[in-house]
């Protein structure tokens, strides 16, 4: 510590540059992680934040709500499986909707569930859950886009059909689905919207996309899902997390961001590693002198690791400060949040990476020959 901290104090400019570079990279990583979380939330929030622990798809639906239609009697068949506390239908479809205030038409997703049953949104921020048909809970990020509390959203009907009006009575966090404004409504409201947009099928029953299951308190959702798949014909049941991970685009998005984030982590390691190597080479004479007068190699290695830690920890601190500032200035349409545990875990990984990246410098320090102090060029200012 004695040597490490004094060197940092006497080389403030150099270390400030190093810390600044690491800080910007850490901010980039944290921001990208937030971006990934937001994007995945926009893709799958509606599915991830509904109350069902298990989602039951048609077996041939390839694990997508858009491709799944289950017969109405499947709901009762699923409800009879041991470990299922409640089962209910879940409808999902994209409609053309007109937000409140006469705004332009846009695509919006409706989730239909049996009021009082499973499938209701679990992240209510304002207002209440729907109590009757014609009411809905919308994704809070769209509140300023005509989906605000008390506003009325209209499902644009086919020519000649009556429009379906939905009054927003609640706003929930992370409820978007397929990156579109999303409203949770009753099954009857969903069916009305379906018929309004497709009057030709007015007499046909509106079948659910899936069945959502709330498991019994002691039951493991994974076990219940396997049991449902085994006992109910023509379905594939997934836990909520599996269903979210299987949603279209999620795996590809994770993979793309994974590559970008991986590269960013590698760059942090390289920046710290190169910085320490340059530092070690530049002070090779001083290190040889210290070894010559009896400094153990371990002491010099500890000094180096202390500097690597300070560099990474201070850089992480700057990254967190920048992320916090960005979060404070983010818009409701694209919120940036500081997820404490995730940020702490990322920073811990980065510090560990920085310590690992100092391996080359540590090797150089361990190989310093103290005899160089007697034979080598001068250090300390004299040529």
């Amino acid at each position: 510590m004695y040597l490490a901290l004094r060197e940092i104090r006497r080389s403030r400019g150099r270390f400030a540059l190093g810390v600044g570079a690491v800080g910007l990279l850490v901010f980039l990583i944290l921001f990208q992680q937030t971006l990934l979380t937001n994007l995945l939330g926009f893709f799958t929030g509606g599915l991830a934040n509904q109350s069902g622990d298990v989602v039951v798809y048609a077996a041939d639906a390839r694990r997508t709500l858009a491709g799944s239609v289950v017969p109405a009697e499947t709901v009762d068949a699923v409800a009879a499986v041991p470990g299922v506390a409640r089962a209910g239908p879940l409808h999902e479809a994209t409609f053309t909707v007109r937000p409140a205030g006469g705004r332009d038409l846009l695509d919006g997703v409706l989730f239909g569930y049996r009021l009082g049953g499973p499938g209701h949104p679990t992240t209510l921020r304002e207002g209440r859950l729907p109590r009757r048909d014609g009411e809905g809970v919308a994704s809070a990020v769209d509140a300023d886009a005509g989906f605000g509390l008390g506003e009325v959203v209209t499902v644009e009907p086919a020519p000649g059909a009556e429009p379906v009006r939905i009054r927003i009575v609640g706003l929930g966090d992370d409820l978007r689905f397929s990156v579109q404004p999303t409203v949770f409504v009753s099954t009857a409201t969903f069916a009305a919207a379906r018929r309004a947009t497709n009057p030709a099928a007015a007499g046909a029953p509106v079948l659910p996309s899936a069945v959502v299951v709330e498991t019994a308190a002691a039951a493991d959702p994974a076990v219940v899902a396997r049991r449902v798949t085994a006992r109910v014909a023509g379905v594939e049941a997934l836990t909520r997390d599996e269903a979210v991970a299987s949603a279209p685009g999620v795996a590809a998005t994770r993979q793309s961001f994974g590559v970008i984030l991986g590269l960013a982590f590698v760059v942090v390691g390289l920046v710290v590693g190169f910085f320490l190597v340059i530092l070690t080479v530049q002070k090779a004479g001083a290190l040889a002198l210290l070894r010559a007068v009896g400094a153990p190699a371990g002491l010099l290695v500890r000094s180096l690791l202390t500097q690597a830690f300070v560099l990474a920890a201070a850089g992480a601190g700057i990254g967190v400060v920048l992320l916090t500032a960005a979060a404070a200035r983010s818009s409701p349409a694209f919120p940036i949040s500081v997820d404490g545990p995730a940020v702490a875990a990322t920073c811990a990984v980065l510090v560990a990476l920085a310590l690992a990246a100092s391996a080359v410098s540590v090797r150089r320090v361990l190989r310093i020959d103290p005899l160089q102090a007697a034979l080598g060029p001068s250090v300390g200012g004299l040529a």
Binding site: E7, A292, V293, G294, P296, P370, A374, G380
Partner: protein, 227 residues
Amino acid sequence: MASLELIDVRKTYGSGHTEVVALDHATLTVGDDEIVALVGPSGSGKTTLLSIAGGLLSPTSGQVRVGGEDITRYTNRQRTRFRRRRVGFVFQQVNLVPFLTARENLLVMPRIAGRRDRAVLERADRLLAELGLTEQAHQLPATLSGGERQRVAIGRALMNEPALILVDEPTSALDTRLGEQVMQLIVDEVTSRHTAAVIVTHDPRMARFAHRRVEIVDGHLHAPAPA
């Protein structure tokens, strides 16, 4: 007891017909309180002898004792510990840690030995005062003059109260007047502490400051000549 005993020490580099003999059957004894000037031309083996005496190098054969301690077969770890406790070095071209102040360059010695008590702070301040460096105590080496840097290096060599001080060409980067001042300072500091010293120099004028003069040519030590 002698502070330094080199008994039939030989140091070679390489082997076979590429073997170079840096030190050839050198025998030297330096008594307590004695200051020996080791004089010889460049490449004569002065620095090799100094490095072996200070535990920076192991001899190929022969025996090395410092303050009665036989260091001939010491491991690297043992030699590191020996250098920390028993020897003070002043290297040829003033060697200071560039990011430590003059005072910290002295304090680094007890620090690496794990000492951080008040006594070492007082000793460092006392040494700086004796060397006339009180006002420069908080300056970095880059802001000190050549003579001041040499004095800081002398202070560092004395900091841990060593049994033997080894000084390699202390005046090579200084003019004659400053060189003589530094030599006198070394002699005064070493003598007042009853410590032995070996001072390597190729300048015969500087050798007269020592109690005894030993010449080295092509790795051979010659019989002591009058200083």
